[in-house]
Symmetry: C2
């Protein structure tokens, strides 16, 4: 005996634009099935209630042919089905349908109420510039590496980079809690080293440890980092979930900038018609989950991202999303110093350059190398 | 001034087998770069310490041509670089290299110490059979749906399914904390309905709510579910992270079976040479992260998984991993009753059939439909 349903869905609908690989004959069924799979997951003809059939199943708002076997479909959903929570919002956008090939999420157009449910980046571009005291040049970041180095070596590296004028010094994403440089010891020593350099230079360099702790220790790690002088946190949502990043960003007792690292998440936007566009992953998702900067592989580095990919990422970091602030694109991934000129073209001055090995290649004096990079940034 | 490193790496090495798409001319460089990218992420020629160069960078143990442009490479890593934690283990296996195409993780061969660091499934196949009192037939699971139904309807469905002899009744993966059927109300009512049916039937049916709470409420949700009579938990690590699933599985105050749902995680094994094999995702990862059963789309359903995919999944659920127990494959995804016969071929009697819409298609009497399915299971 199923009870009748009287659904009070007075909120707005939000929209998701999908790219669909399909032939003309099957595209309508494919898109309709997507609207069902992401909501009721149930044969519509067996649903007794018109309210569920008419309001809960996604509405196909448009379907446009954009290539020989490629379509663009926009589906709208009642915002209530997300419960106004990030976990379920992600699930509605591409949950079970992530198991299908030939479907990729291109763009989110979220409703006002839904956007209001998220704080988004605490700092964003303007807040991070203010924190670092840098008005109008690109920001400069490097990473402590290689894995296997003891804490004292990493702290000494941090000191030299900070002395040379690097703005943000982050852990390499593989520095976790290994015996070589355990998390608590590393954070204390590196934060102290950066503070010492700041006293000598008058700069506002910050240290961003890698928060990739076990799920039940994340907040303890983040609070420790805050208490011992970390100036930002680097988080890998591929490993710990987008929502854990959001919680760390939202926590007023931590209140540090968040740097999004894409490790273990490349499959989200691997290039085929599957998963998400770079625009959504590095831009819209990163911002909904509270990141202030989004690391991605720049064109021309070790990874196969194209110029077009990078442009779309930059757009995603600043596309209007009501009160959700724009954030910094943070290109990295094996760039060399001669590639810097192309960055202005792509990002204007609104980016954070993540330079790793390239900083070491210039010669043995890392303080001097850092100064050279900073000068380049100031001359851009 | 970098300090010398004296790395005491007395543990064993563990191995990861990758499939690599490459030409003959570039394959050696590609595999060597993979071994670097997953560890030091740094130009080896700039590393002053031989210990880091020789012990931290992955060792290419073998490289075999298996197709015209396809190779199989095995890389071994020092177990210490994982910190013996799941988050960093996943990161070493395919962190940054998830951003590359043409690399897929095929299989893990973990060292004894590393496996010992994980409890794995609390119940596994044998424990779940004992809990449900079912010795030698396949298990039967269905889902409460559709999204939009009020709590009373879902509880009534749960009652009817349990009365008809379904073994496990789970939330649909889209049931979160929406106003239609809020989490706490739903869990209480559905667990109570299943308990009432069990008193009438003498069966041991269990209810598995969907634990897809915000990251800071996961444990509160799981403990509530435990306290109010849930018999298992369904978890989607694509949304909350594999390690959060592990923590829920490991918690002795919860101590419930864990059902792994692959929503928002299809891109992990999307079929191309990227991400992971089904064997690793649904088998080895699920078990390391404490799942007792692994939901995946069976061949012939709404998703494009092949017979070969399903065989590899089944193998992954039981391949020897020292003390990490074998778990149940849980094929679902739009199967119809006439497809049941093929399941024995694929899985023997060691599977949990997840039947959703198919249970409703048989007619309006859900108790009777459930009885029919149970009879089919008993006759297999």
């Amino acid at each position: 005996m199923l009870l009748p349903v009287f659904l009070n869905l007075s909120g707005e609908r939000f929209s998701v634009t999908y790219q669909i690989d399909s032939d003309k004959d099957t595209v309508h069924a494919k898109v309709q099935n997507l609207a069902i799979e992401q909501t009721v997951e149930f044969p519509p003809e067996l649903i007794p209630d018109d309210d569920i059939k008419n309001k809960i199943i996604g509405h196909v708002e448009s379907l446009v042919k954009i290539g020989e076997h490629t379509y663009e479909a926009t589906i709208s959903y009642a915002e209530e089905i997300t419960g106004y929570e990030l976990v379920q919002l992600l699930n509605v956008i591409l949950g079970n349908s992530s198991l299908l090939v030939g479907i990729r999420v291109e763009q989110l157009d979220l409703s006002w109420n839904l956007l209001k449910a998220f704080k988004g980046p605490r700092f964003g571009r303007a807040g991070l510039r203010e924190l670092l005291g840098i008005r109008d040049r690109p920001l400069l970041c490097t990473a402590l590496k290689p894995l296997g180095s003891p804490t004292q070596t990493l702290a000494e590296l941090a000191y030299q980079f900070a002395l040379g004028g690097i703005d943000i010094i982050k852990d390499d994403h593989g520095l976790a809690n290994q015996t070589f440089a355990p998390f608590f010891e590393r954070v204390q020593n590196c934060a102290t080293a950066v503070a010492r350099a700041n006293r000598e230079t008058g700069y506002h360099c910050i240290y961003a440890p890698n928060i990739s702790a076990p799920a039940d220790k994340l907040f303890a790690y983040a609070r420790f980092a805050k208490d011992y002088g970390a100036g930002a946190l680097m988080v890998s949502p591929g490993l710990i979930g987008f929502d854990a990043m959001r919680v760390l960003a939202d926590d007023d007792s931590i209140a540090l900038p968040i740097i999004y690292h894409p490790t273990f998440q490349g499959f989200l936007s691997s290039g085929g018609t599957i998963g998400f566009s770079h625009f959504v992953q590095y831009g819209q998702f990163a911002r909904l989950a509270g990141a202030d900067a989004s690391i991605f592989p720049n064109q021309g580095g070790r990874f196969a991202y194209t110029r077009e990919d990078c442009i779309r990422i930059a757009e995603g970091t600043m596309t209007p999303m009501d009160s959700i602030k724009p954030i910094f694109p943070m290109p990295g991934g094996g760039m060399l110093s001669h590639q810097l000129d192309g960055l202005l073209d792509l990002y204007g001055k609104e980016f954070i350059l993540l330079i790793g090995g390239g900083l070491h290649r210039l010669g043995p004096d890392l303080v001097e190398n850092s100064r050279l990079f900073r000068q380049r940034m100031e001359q851009l």
